[in-house]
Symmetry: C2
Subunit: 336 residues, 2 copies
Amino acid sequence: MVTIKDIARKSGVSVGTVSNVINNLESVKIKNKEKVLEVINSLGYRPNKIAASLSKKKTMNVGLIVPDVSSPFYSDLIKGISDALEINGYNIFLCESNNNIQKEEKIIRDLLSMWIDGIILIPVYSKKRNLHFLENIEIPVVLVNREIEGIKKDIVIFDNFGGAFEATQFLIKNNHKKIPILGGPELSKSFEERFQGWKEAMEENNLYKDNLIFRGDFSVEAGHKMMLEALNKADGIDAVFASSDLIALGALSAIDEYNLKVPDDISVMGFGDIYLSKFLKPSLTTIRRPFYNIGKTAVSLLLDRISGNTQKKITKFIIKGKLEIRDSVKIPDQPE
Amino acid sequence: MVTIKDIARKSGVSVGTVSNVINNLESVKIKNKEKVLEVINSLGYRPNKIAASLSKKKTMNVGLIVPDVSSPFYSDLIKGISDALEINGYNIFLCESNNNIQKEEKIIRDLLSMWIDGIILIPVYSKKRNLHFLENIEIPVVLVNREIEGIKKDIVIFDNFGGAFEATQFLIKNNHKKIPILGGPELSKSFEERFQGWKEAMEENNLYKDNLIFRGDFSVEAGHKMMLEALNKADGIDAVFASSDLIALGALSAIDEYNLKVPDDISVMGFGDIYLSKFLKPSLTTIRRPFYNIGKTAVSLLLDRISGNTQKKITKFIIKGKLEIRDSVKIPDQPE
DNA sequence: TTGTAAGCGTTATCAC
DNA sequence: GTGATAACGCTTACAA
């Protein structure tokens, strides 16, 4: 392995000068600089970032902790984060918490001992979270997509309430009246917010009823089951608000089994805009979450902290969704 | 920041002993070990991996280079790799080449200067690849999913030929005779292999004809377009082999526009098994690629090299796909 | 079993 | 502008 010392020796300057050349310091005489660069090339020298990090106490690495790498929900987020960090010269340690709080804490400890410069955390949902531990992490941390009560950290989240409200409003405006919600798990905050959005829109229009609420989890199977329940129980359903696209998918197939047509007999509103929702038949009207931008925003918050704004107030970004109007919701009197 | 020295001082032993405790060396007297552990806890000491790496010349980090992080195709692969590395105590540097060969080479250089212990590379397809550069990387490299001619590295790839052959055979066995292929880009090796698989199966059964070949890229739009072409050109098509699930999706919608029914009027065979293929209506019969296992295999090859098997012969794993029989292919005389 | 000290490859300080 | 050298926090001979 060729080091800075070898370069120094071969080019007849000191290690300090070589270091300055490598780091593009202006102060180096042009002649020396050229000589050093030449030797670097001929010897195939490669700077050792580990050594530099040890000396500088800065690694230019950040940790990204995701509950599940393979989830299509996070892939755009990861991309947004990855792109933004790359532009700024940072590398990513990608870690997966597997939705397990112990694992998440272990990862954080490991990352800290690698002297990363900051952490972007998509937190696991957990009642057993050690707030003290999280709060006392000595490097910048940005939370994404999930709030943790009692934690004072910069955060970027999606506007679940607003999205659900808008989605439901859209259904109502288009003349739908009996609109059950196909919900997620009770303890999910995201779902709770979506639920509240739906509820508020329904109440505002005097359409709210307790028996319009169905609960399951965020899966296709659950969507299928809830939709069947809804169809069995309630009469005259003219639309349904699925609180995730996966649920909507399940709903679609349940409706199909009932020999009803979407959107003619019943409209389906999704939530989340997963990849492929637009390719379904009928394509799914849904709320798109701009994950790529959420990722970019998280990075800018993080880099801001890393560059020293430690006294700045905690900021909370709430990113709005976008209604994607496609074919699964019936729009009356639409001009041809 | 508390260091090993502080621990040594407080616990009345030497830094060497502390180091041994941290690294679980047996040789430490139990009494000292306990004392040291106690001090470590009370001071909240955290080992500095950077310093350890510099000293040990080993980082326990590996680089993973992916063309596109957000692609659903790679998410399972990333998960397989991530899980397997984690079990073995390694961390991942996730990098994205954006399908750009310059970027890929830059990433490799960066990773090398971070002293990672090995690289798992999903290579960009490129005619302008610098083989010499790749071949001379001084740490273990495992290639995944794409072969590079002239490069002697361990590799794990998917059996595109076999998968396409099996898929086509399946169609033929089930009484389909006129089976166009909806193909990918000409320069894609993966597609070329799938094409050959299809061709061989067709020829073996005297079904092959030049005019059954359509070409586009691996996208929904291309699938749509190719399917329309096929329907316009050829008569009596009873099945179609889409060389990717995305293409199959496009084909499905084209067929729908033609007011034909899948699978009654025409069968559709996909390739790749993307997430959601099983949720389509009709659900897509396709070839599943076991990406998770491909990832795990790649890791085991890499770790094998890292642990010193440098003289071992290059190994090439060809992982077989699995036919997922669902609803988009018509199976005659099926008992009810 | 433990302590001492050299060394890992860089950066940064401070004379010159 | 440059060179010498201490420092970064840890591991690892080697000696005790």
